[in-house]
Each structure stands twice: as C-alpha cells, then as structure tokens.
C-alpha cells in the first residue's frame, strides 16, 4: 500500500517577496498566480473555493486538513471554482461523506485548479500578517525558483484590478419564488446563498450582468435593488456600478448592498474605499450592531474597506463595526432608503447570525410598496 500523498508530483509556491516553499501538487498540474490570501474558516472549503469574490486569488486555508468530506453539488456557491489556486497543509486524498458527489481532488481537476499541499501554511500566514498581502505563483511544472519569483512579481496587482465582469452572468436571468416581491440583483459575482436567501423570503429575482446599463435595470421595475459581492478593486467597478446605484437611489425603492455592493453604495455618497493591509477572511469575525449593541459572528471576505477616517456622518450612519479592529462593517444611508454591509450575512460558509439583514431589507421593500411592516 503506497500512500496516495507521495504519488503527487512536487510543486513550488513562490511569493513576490522571494519566499519559496516546496510541497506536493494537488488538483491540476500547471502554473497559476494571484494575490495570496488566507481564510481561517475551519469548515466550508468548497463554498470558499466557489465564492466569486475570491476570483483571481490564491486561497490558503489555515485549517490544515482540507478535502475531508469531499465535495457536494449543494455546496457550490457558483457554477465553477473561482479561486486561482489553492494552498493547504494536509490535503485529504480520501474523504468520508456518504452523501458526497466526489473527492476534492477530482473536483479541482475538473475545475482546472492548480494547488499545492504540504507547506507550512502558518509560516506563510505570519509572513502576510507582517508584510501585508502579496502576489504569489504556484507551479507543478516550472522548477526554476527565480523564474517563479519573477512571475509572482510580474503578476497583476489586485489594486486597480477589475474582475467583476469576469464572474458575472453573461445574460440576465429571472429566478422565481413563491412571493410577490421583486428584487433586482446586480451580479458582480453573486453567491448562490444570497439568491437562496431572497427566494426563501418570497422575493422573485431578476439578476443582471454587471455591465447592464441602468435604464435596462430600471425597466424591470423592482421593489428593491440589491448590489452583490464581487472580486477585484471596487474602484475599478465604479464605471458600470455607480450609474446603476444612482438610478436605483432615484427610484425611491430600497437598496441593499453586500461587500462590493456595499462599497459601491458608499462610493456613491462620496466615501472613498481603501485597500487593507491584510483583509478579513474567515467565519469568526465579530461584528457589533451599533443599534442593538449585539454582536454577530460573521463570515468575511474582503481586502478593501470603506475608509473609516473619511466617513461623512451627515450622509451615512455606521450601523456595524468590526470588534477586532474597529473597521466599518455596515452603513445605513441618510439620503435614501439603503443599507449595506461589508460582510456576508448569507454566510455559506459560516454562522447564520446575520441572516436577519435579509429580513430587514424585506421590511424596507414592504414599506416601499406601502405595505405595513410585519410586527
């Protein structure tokens, strides 16, 4: 019995700062690069790998064993894997889950994802923590370390990078529900569980590709507008994102934004977005609701944030803050019916503490339709 692990080819991970580590290839054999980020969730690798907000990023999982329960169709957050590459400490070739659809290895191969296993991920996390996020390259083909470091250095920086159009739907799509509420969803890389959360609450959705002109969106006459999460530098999505936000504001209907959507809504009120040193990526981030004083354990995935030093209190109210570093996690807008959060109330993976935000938005939609809010 030869252990499966050693049958993997060697692979190298090279960072832009010159760090090189060697491990074993998992997923597809090849070369890939992107911004190296880490996620501290201990469960939910498949949801993370398919989260469009991670498009173009190399995902390093801090939990060492990845692949344990295989993959299941029901856990996909998008049609395909979105991460550019995967870095883990101990890849499970074998899995255990009677209701799984297949192994993670098969899944990565099918989705053409290059990965590396058997590296000291904790060392790399500490490096990023002290030096800030940086680009990196994984290769199971190239063995020249210098060449790989150069490749990592030459990789496109996330700053200024426009990626939402790479992951958005190509055509508008209607998703029916049992209810009568109509919500227009701007798809910058919307997660499946956001769609599920709306549909569960009786919202019929019209999901628009990222670059849909505002007129076309407004034509559908939605009861509310939702601006989704998505990858890349939000500033680079402003050209097509902001006109729709402005048009939605004028409609008098409520607006709700998550992650990239939140940043676009903030930008529309003149609040700048800054790149963070490390970012928040995990399922254990404490967010305090300033209105209730209660804390939600939230799923987060962002490398950019609303600049807390340039908040204009006359335009927005800060509704949520991160307890770890006091960054802004949620806003309510004074000039229009809108709310937005930087984190992910749809979870998947992660705790369900913040799902009430969908209910709140639904109340705003009802109010906008002149219905009485639920008691």
């Amino acid at each position: 019995m030869t252990p499966a692990k050693t049958s993997h080819k060697p692979a190298i991970l090279a960072l832009a700062d010159g760090t090189v580590v060697r491990g074993r290839a998992v997923g597809m054999i090849g070369t890939t690069g992107g911004e190296l980020c880490f996620n501290t969730s201990m469960t939910g690798y498949q949801e993370i790998f398919t989260d469009p907000s991670y498009y173009g990023q190399l995902m390093m999982m801090t939990y060492p064993h990845i692949g344990n329960y295989g993959t299941m169709n029901r856990d996909d957050e998008a049609r395909k894997v979105m991460i550019a590459g995967m870095i883990v400490r101990s890849f499970s070739d074998d899995y255990s889950n009677p209701i799984a659809d297949g192994s993670l290895q098969e899944y990565l191969e099918r989705n053409k994802v290059v990965g590396i296993s058997g590296v000291d991920t904790r060392m790399l996390v500490r490096r990023i923590r002290t030096k800030g996020v940086m680009n990196a390259v994984i290769s199971s083909e190239i063995t020249d370390e210098e060449e790989l470091i150069e490749k990592a250095r030459a990789w496109d920086s996330m700053e200024g990078l426009e990626l939402a159009t790479k992951v958005t739907r190509k055509e508008a799509q209607t998703v029916p529900s049992d209810g009568s509420y109509r919500v227009a969803v701007m798809d910058y890389g919307v997660k499946q569980n956001i769609i599920n959360n709306f549909v569960k609450r009786g919202c019929t959705l019209r999901i628009f590709p990222a670059e849909t002109p505002p007129e076309e969106v407004m034509e559908w006459k939605a009861d509310g507008y939702f601006f989704s999460n998505g990858p890349g530098d939000p500033n680079a999505s402003a050209s097509y994102g902001l006109p729709v936000v402005e048009a939605a504001k004028k409609s008098g209907k409520p607006l709700f934004g998550i992650c990239l959507g939140h940043q676009l809504m903030a930008m529309s009120e003149g609040i700048p977005i800054r790149k963070m040193f490390v970012g928040h990526r995990g399922a254990n981030q404490p967010v305090k609701n300033t209105a209730t004083g209660l804390v939600e354990i939230s799923t987060q995935n962002h490398g950019f944030a609303v600049d807390e030093k340039q908040i204009d209190e006359s335009k927005v109210e800060v509704t949520h803050i991160n307890l770890n570093d006091n960054t802004i996690e949620g806003l309510r807008f004074r000039n229009f019916a809108g709310m937005s959060v930087q984190y992910h109330p749809e979870a998947s993976p992660g705790p369900h503490d913040s799902s009430y935000l969908f209910d709140q938005f639904l109340e705003m939609v009802k109010e906008g339709r002149g219905e009485k809010a639920s008691p």
């Binding site: 030869t2 501290t40 969730s41 201990m42 499970s92 255990s96 254990n284 209660l294 770890n324």
Partner: protein, 942 residues
Amino acid sequence: MPRREDISKILIIGSGPIVIGQACEFDYSGTQACRSLKEEGYKVVLINSNPATIMTDPMMADSIYLKPLTTTSIKEIVAKEKPDAVLPTMGGQTALNLARDLQHEGFWKENGVKIIGVNMDAVDITEDRQLFRDLMESIGIEQCRSRTANSLLDAKEIVEELGGLPIVIRPSFTLGGTGGGIVWNESEFERKVLRGLELSPVHQVLIEESIFGWKEYELELLRDRNDNVVIVCPIENLDPMGVHTGDSVTVAPTQTLTDKQYQILRDAAIKMMRSIGDFAGGCNVQFAMEPGSDRLVAIEINPRVSRSSALASKATGYPIAKVATKLAVGYTLDELPNPITQVSSACFEPSIDYVVVKIPRFNFDKFPGVDEELTTQMKAVGEVMSIGRNFPEALNKAWQSLEVGRSGLGADGYDNPDRKTIRERLVKPYWDRTMQIRNAFKMGASVEEIADITKVDPWFLQQIRHMVSLENRTEGQSLDTISKEDLYEMKQAGFSDVQIAWLLSKGGKDLHEDDVRKKRLEMGLKPVFKLVDTCAAEFPAETPYYYSSYESENESEVTDRKKVMILGSGPNRIGQGIEFDYSCVHAVLAAQEMGYEAIMVNCNPETVSTDFDIADKLYFEPVYWERVLDIFEHEKPEGVILQVGGQTALKLGKRFVEAGIKIFGTEFEKIDFAEDRGEFSKFLKRLDIPFPEYGTARNSEDALAIADRVGYPVLIRPSYVLGGQGMRIAVKEDELGRYVERILETHPENDFLIDKYLDKAVEVDVDSVFDGEQLHIAGIMQHIEPAGVHSGDSTAVVPPYSLSKEVIKTIEEYQYRIAKEMGIVGFLNVQYAVKNEKVFILEANPRTTRTIPFLAKATQRPEAKIGVKVMLGAKLKEFDLESKLKNWAIKEPVFPFDKFPEVKKELGPEMKSTGESIYFMDNFDDEHFRKPYEFKNLYLSK
C-alpha cells in the same frame, strides 16, 4: 456594561475530591474563576474539601474553607461571611447540585445571596430528562425517542413502544452517567434497569431509542447578559455514540462535517442555550448526527463549565472559565479583550490551525474483574491531549503521552495481537480502539470492514491507514538508505524515533532511538515550536503556549534568562493525580520567585499547570523522552526538575543523567538507589535502621524460599511500579504461588520483592524537606488503617493520634539520618511501620508525594514551594516554618467502587482511591475519625 457593583463578595463552590467523571479540570476552572474575580476586585469566599487543589491555596481567595461539601457547611459559611452572590458553575455537578438543593430550600433567597453564572431553573430543566425533552420539542430540536420510567414495569412498556432492544438507560441526577448504559439483550435488561433506578436519587431512569453508532459532537458555548453567544470549540468524538464522551477519543475541531452540517449544530446549540434561561456564563451541548444525513438529535446540555470546557480551553487557548466568570459578574463579551492576543476581541470564535486529539486514560488494571467495555457510564480516570499539525501527528503524540509504555500508535516493538483478538477488541468499544484499528490495518483489513464493525467515521480510519502505510514503507528501508524526505514525512506524521528505529531494525541490525535521532539531526530534522493563539495566526499573540511539529518556521524564541524546565505528571491515574499537578504549579512559582524562567512541559488538559498564564513558557507536549529532549535542546535551560511530576517525570531521570543534563535537587543516582531494594536495605543496615526482612526473586522457587525464611504473611510486588501496582499480601504458600504467576505474566521483565508483612502494625507516613543541614518535617501522618493498606487509600491523621513520644522521636531521628546519609536536597518521604513500639522503614521516596498538598493545607505552609526552592539552592532557615495547624487534620480517601459494581470493595497494598478530602478535627469523638477507626480492618484484603 461593566462589572456589577451590587455585589462585592462572591462564594465559589468547588467540586471536592477527585472522582471518576469529576477530576482536576474543576481545579483548573475554579482557579481561573478565583483569579478572574480577584482581578476585578471582588472578595472571594471559597469552599472545597479537596486539599490538592491550587484553588484552595491562600493566594487564590480571601477566605478559604476546607470543609466537607455539604449544605450544612455552606450554610455555616454564608452565615459567617454573608456573601452577596454565589457562583456554582465552576465546581462540576457537585457544586451545581448543592446550589440547587439550597435553592429548593429557599436558602439563597432568604439570605439575599444572588446566583450568578446560571439560572437554577435551567439546572432543573437540564437535569430532568422529561422537562428537557419537552423543552427541546417546543423549540423544534429533535430528540431520541424516549420516556422516563419509575419502575421496572414502566421500563418494559417503554421498550415495547420503542420497538424493542437495544435501548439506552440513563438514570436521572447521577454524576458522569453513573448507572447508565446500553442494553443489548433481555438477559441484562432487568438488572440494568433496577440498578439505574437504585442509583438515581429520585428513582427514575430514562429509556431511550438507541442511536449507537451515530456521529457524536460537543460544542462549548459562552453567553453574556446581552444574549451574545459564541461557540468556543466544536469537538468531534472519534468513538461514535454509545461511549461516554469522557471515555471517547475526541478530536478538535470537527473533521468530517461540511459547513452546512456544522451550522445546523451551531444553530441548534445556540437555540438550546437560549431556551434554558438568560444567564450569563458557559454551557456545553452534546449532539448526535446520523451518518449520511443531516438528522441531528440533541443529547444533553450542561449549563456549567465542564470537563469538555477544560479540554476546549486547552485545545484553542481560549480561557473559557476565566471569561465565563467575567460574564457572570456583568461584563459582556464585546467589552473583553481576547486574553491570548490582547489585540482582538474575546467575542469571537477561535479558529485553530492544528489538530487536537484527546485520549482518555483508564486504570482497569487496579480493579480485577472489572467490565472493560466502554459504555455510556464514564470509567476513565484521566486523559491526555496532544496537538499536531495533522491528525496522525496528534494521534501518535497522544499515545506517547498516555503513559502506557507505548511510543506511538504501534510500530514500537510490541507484538501485534492475532486476528481474533483484534476483532473482539473492535466489535465492542474498548480503551485501545485506535491501536486495534491500526493492528487491523496491519493485518490487511479494509476501511469499509473496520467502519462496518466500529462505526468510526471512515476519515479517521483513512488517516490511520495512511499511518500504517508509512510504517510499511519504512519497514523495507535501513537507516543508511532512508531518504530525508521519507524520514521527514514520518516525523511529520508524529512517529517517534523509537518507532522509526524499530521499523528500520526489521531489515537488519538492531537500532536504538538514539541512532535515529543522530541521523535525523545530521539531516537537519528537528521539530519547530508553534504557538497556540486562538486565531490561526491572524493576529499576533504574546501568550507563550507552544506545541512541537515538523515544519519550517519556529515561533518559540529563546530568551537569555536563566531557565529551568519542569516536567509535569502526565495523565491522571490512580496513584498519580492532581496532587502532583499541585506540586508542579508550586515548582513553577518557586522557580519564578528564585529568578528563573519556568518552562513547563505537560500533556494533561485538566490541569492548572497547563494553563496559559502559569509558567513563563508552556510546552503542551508528551512527557516522553524524545519530545522532552527536543524541548530541552531548543531552550537549553540550566537543568530540569523531575521530583514534582511523579513517576512520569522521574522515570526519565536515567536518560537525563546519560545525556549529561543537570537534575536539580537530590542526585538522580540517589533517587534511583531508593528504588533499589537491595542497595537501600544495605544502606539501612549500615545505619542500623530496622526494616522488614525481605528477598528479591525472579521465579517461584526463589519466592517460596524467601517466604519460608522471613515467615508468612508476606507482601509480594514487582519492583519499579507505581501506587503499589500488582502488590499483594499472601498468608500461605499456594496463595504466594498464584501471585507469583500473575506477576510473571503482567511484569515479565521485573524482579519481584517478597517482604515480611508486619501484621497489625501502625503505618506512618512522613514528608520532609532537607537542605543538606537542616531537616524540615512537613508532617508525620499516622494511618488509621493498618499497614498493608496502601498509604494512598488510608485515612491519615496529622499529627499522630496515638504514637508514643519515643516512637515519634525515633521517626524524626531516622528521617534526619536517612536524609543526611542519602544526600537529599529537597523532598524526602519515608513510610514507616510501627509494631510493638519498634519502628521499621518500609520505603523512602526522594520526591514530592500525594500528601504534600494535604500537609500544605493542614499546616498552611507552602510545603511544595519550600521543597522546590531548596532544590534550587535556598536554605530552610530562610523560611517561616511554623505550622498553623490546631488539633488534627485528616486525609480521607475517596474510591470509585460505585462505577465498578462488579468489583468487590477491598483495600490492600494496591492503591484504588481516586482522590481525597481534608477534614479538620478537634477531638476523637468526631465521626470523621470514629468511623474509619471502627472499620479500619474491615476492608483489608490480601
């Protein structure tokens, strides 16, 4: 909200003596609670009858009552101290039950004492199976189908309803599931139901649908007064449903749940905690999940800090008891910083980037005839925890920690049992299940076969199979040819040098672990040390809590201070329990006070010594030679302290001497010499100190000859054992023959000793400290039971109650001469037998003992600290050695016979007690003295 100002004095109830199901984890939680409250400026009043606890040390509380844990004592204390509040969640079920009894009497209300940390209604609900069931139903949490029975007839009807056997029995209101279990067939049904009814104080048992074989999980929760809830740690049981969680191998975090499944657990746990009142504090929830589905059933909820909370705290670094205490006095989670990082919030859910394995430790060898099958009633006496960067590493380390003579999960030179034995040991759950799974793979079994028999989740089996495949690959190689990559992979999987040496020896010459060590160090293969930081390195953390792994980056920076390494005592077991951890903690404090950086090495998650802020540096590692040496070579301390960690630490002494490493205190050769009966007897002869006649034998002819020479009755035992293991009294020849046979079976490599047994002699136990000139006698303890009952099982009275002045003078003189002539520096314990005014020496132990903490509490002198400071060079004249003991203190042992109904209650030379309490007595009319005195000969066995 900040701390409550309406209370200023708080009563904490401890958990009393160590029993199965309630061990030193409650010293850990109680100690954290005391420190946490004192930090906030509250006055702390404490009651606990267990003298071996750190929480009962003078610095821990403002008033400490070492009194029996009864409602009467609590009433007296409340009358005297008038506390404003009581915190009953830190002392296990004992404390909670006491608080509940007093609540039902209306006592707390009458006296204006507020209950903090829990709602008493919540306790009522969680302890009453039917109430709990109804509540769960009302909030939509699924339960096993079940009903309570108050009679055998009820029980029979319920079984019919449930569709027959197997079923599970759970008696109401018993500790650690006492009396519970699965009933497989008709023949055992009546007996088990009746026993359950008898053991339940309300004569009630729950008859439940069997979910044997389902996956089992535990979540540790914290909630504040604003209703914020966090899950500190999810734990997965490797042993599926059917084995008490205290007896199960458990793993943190969960390994086999998808996020959607885990969130079902998390949502349910939060819902459950919110349903049992709105108290601020900690809580533990247990679930079962059907494999291959999302069906979840709730098993139980404990509204208090538990054994699992201690494990979760050590597993994540998050100090649950400390934070739970702050929440109980009014803080909210978002106001508190994470004590580990100091930069992030305490209101979060720890993320860990390693795997934690807990393996329970059992002591069945002490109870011949005991049913070793694991059931829903807890039988373990202790546990070990290990940390690795992957499951194989953690599992191998856990086996290295267990103190069962193994160097990992197999592959260490012990014969593999035959197919039939393996199968028998897998069909039903036993303590060595993971080892038997490894053996089965070694025999060529498949994951499917083993999963089918054991119901253990295949992921764990796949991991063990991978370990076996690494073994197999290594077996074919030699030390000269093995590649660095292959060796590195073995080390990353946690294999010890002993295991690798054994595997590599198969192909050729015999290797020693030192050969492997030398080779791997030449290759540059040495462990690094990683930090336990609650946050997977997302934030910087200062807390010096480390584990070893084979990786690229080392995080443990060595300071330039002078250092001492203290070895802990490993898992609790009979003969070596909390008493040694007590001394370990004092050794740390003593070393610090002497200007040393104190480095602690231990693997017992229940202990105070492994708390994150006790030692200057904590290595949560097996107290196993290779691991300890790795740490030593990294830290390069001045030397090591072995005398506080019991046999676990002491048995490494020889290796330290060989490695040329300094051992503080008495020279190791002297310690070793005290164990060598021949040498020690010669020594006593030279000093003209009497001892019972004896002889050393290797076979039964020798044994019988010696017995004839010294005369029956004789005491027979293997040499080099702990807690009188395997020791027996034989009154005649055939009996002696039987015992010899048994020893030859269980300890084939040891010599054995035959001593003249001094019938009806009085036993005296003396702890002391010697600094080279002066002898400090910590206490002379006279046993009530006759010599022949193990000192750990005896009721001991200090000072002696019936020894003559001459005898005491003789004892003091012997003690001084032995200390002086042996060259003791530090602790010396000597056990004496007194017969007809003549004093005999039974044995000498140059180390701390089980009784040091008892004496420290009796005299109010820090005996453990004094001893360690003397080892580090202090002189006795520097200390205030005055005893504050008025009248007498009694050490009362506690036994686990209620957990092992099939075992006869008998006392003999082999220790059986799990713990002890202290009782202060003013006169001999006291029933605490009178009772054991009356029965002193009753349980003496042979």
